[in-house]
Symmetry: C2
Amino acid sequence: MASKSSDKVLFFSQTSIPDKFEESCLKLDDFVKHQVVLNRKIILITSGGTTVPLESRTVRFIDNFSSGTRGSTSAEYFLQKNYAVIFLHRHKSLEPFYRHLNRDIFDSLELTSTGDIVVKHENKDHLAKIIKQYKTIEEEKLLLKLEFTSLGDYLHLLKATCERLNKLGTSVMLYLAAAVSDFYIPKADMSEHKIQSSNGPLELKLQLVPKMLEPLVKDWLPSAYIISFKLETDSRLLISKSKQALDKYKHQLVIANELEKRKREVTLVTSETVNPIILSEEDLKRGTEIESVIVKEVIKLHDNYIKSN
Amino acid sequence: MASKSSDKVLFFSQTSIPDKFEESCLKLDDFVKHQVVLNRKIILITSGGTTVPLESRTVRFIDNFSSGTRGSTSAEYFLQKNYAVIFLHRHKSLEPFYRHLNRDIFDSLELTSTGDIVVKHENKDHLAKIIKQYKTIEEEKLLLKLEFTSLGDYLHLLKATCERLNKLGTSVMLYLAAAVSDFYIPKADMSEHKIQSSNGPLELKLQLVPKMLEPLVKDWLPSAYIISFKLETDSRLLISKSKQALDKYKHQLVIANELEKRKREVTLVTSETVNPIILSEEDLKRGTEIESVIVKEVIKLHDNYIKSN
């Protein structure tokens, strides 16, 4: 089912402009200008799942599984390599650096006799390193975070970002790790108020979301290095569906992962190559994050792409 | 549409037993025994939204709006009043004490010259108070936390908890703040793998979840003080629907709230009274949490209930 460009125009008219959209656009303008002056490569990372509201004043929604681990972890490794990162993420999903702030740390807060609060954590040295990195990134203005909740927010912000990156050619990379809904309910078909259970069983009719990767590769950012993700639960579909996506959208790379193995195994699929990345038991014990390996490989591919274009 | 007891039996057989269910039951046994020895009142607080999976190996699900603010905040105030709290909450929703651990705190972590990590927060004194409270609660074993994700997990754990509280009579309170799905897809109707968008638009048929408040009040915990919550977006329905619920289920209290005003206005509805709680602008500026007022009022109602039964 090929989606037509009219579908996309229709889709944008059927979803609301996100809150504080103009403010986000101004932030984008400033951020991109700053990076261009410093001649930095820029990566847009999308992260977390989009929601599809079932009601206008939303109590219920359809969500896609994603806590934002892939995106937030990858962002840290790209930042270490001096990429400027636009991190477009689901509100309250994991964020670079903040992701390390967990219950363990709260449990390890101690009050001293002088009234100070200190962190008595067994991984204190690791945490100290992260705090240092975080403060450097802030000072150097290497990271811009933008938030979405619904599918509509996400697509409006994605488009606005691409418009601002369009002139920067091959130095731009897109790392589309967000789990984007395939189905939605158009505004006109939506209940305004909370759907009442006293009306009995519920039938929902969801429309297909037009595949935005198509205009993105063709029109919005034709020179960028574009990476999409493919998550399946059925491993037999994984590589063939990744190849199909590359055939159809003509972008550069698909990172394929199976739901249950995603933290220790992914496959980088290009139109010519199929390159699995698998962490060993030892890697896992040492606490190696698979994103550190993915990012290293992706940067090599991006460098080659810049050289050959 | 009155739900029959056969619906409920059917529902339980159509949802899977939660992970680590036996472990949770053992924890419940220990916790309840400990509180009974110390003659403490026990409150079960449910918090956060339940999910309804659309696939067995779940990538997509329907979710109910709830970050767990009402439940986690209320839990802290009940703990301050020496209630033992069973906190049955959605995985990754807000938890008592941990809810104060936010980005602000990460931003305020500083490295000292001696290699320590200290918190340089403007609200340091407030945070110090919370850390002290938290450590006391831990030492006194006043708090048990249990997690759910899906509707099925939630209902199995709710039932198991009620079975263990049943013999404790009027000293038990239920504070059902979780946002529980009204609709679900039975296991037999569910797709095993991720639903493919290549099959075109999606039609979903959802069944009504049987109203568990009915057996809960009648059979599971007939002597307890039971509080349900009513959230609506349409304010005109709020009080009438709360009254209907009390008529139908014969429990003691409905806490009614409108989605957009829920942090500054709620109404306590009993079969005889309608008691609004509204925070003033001054209260809000001072940082008063509405849960502090709700908990005070609810404890009064519970005390009266114990005396008169």
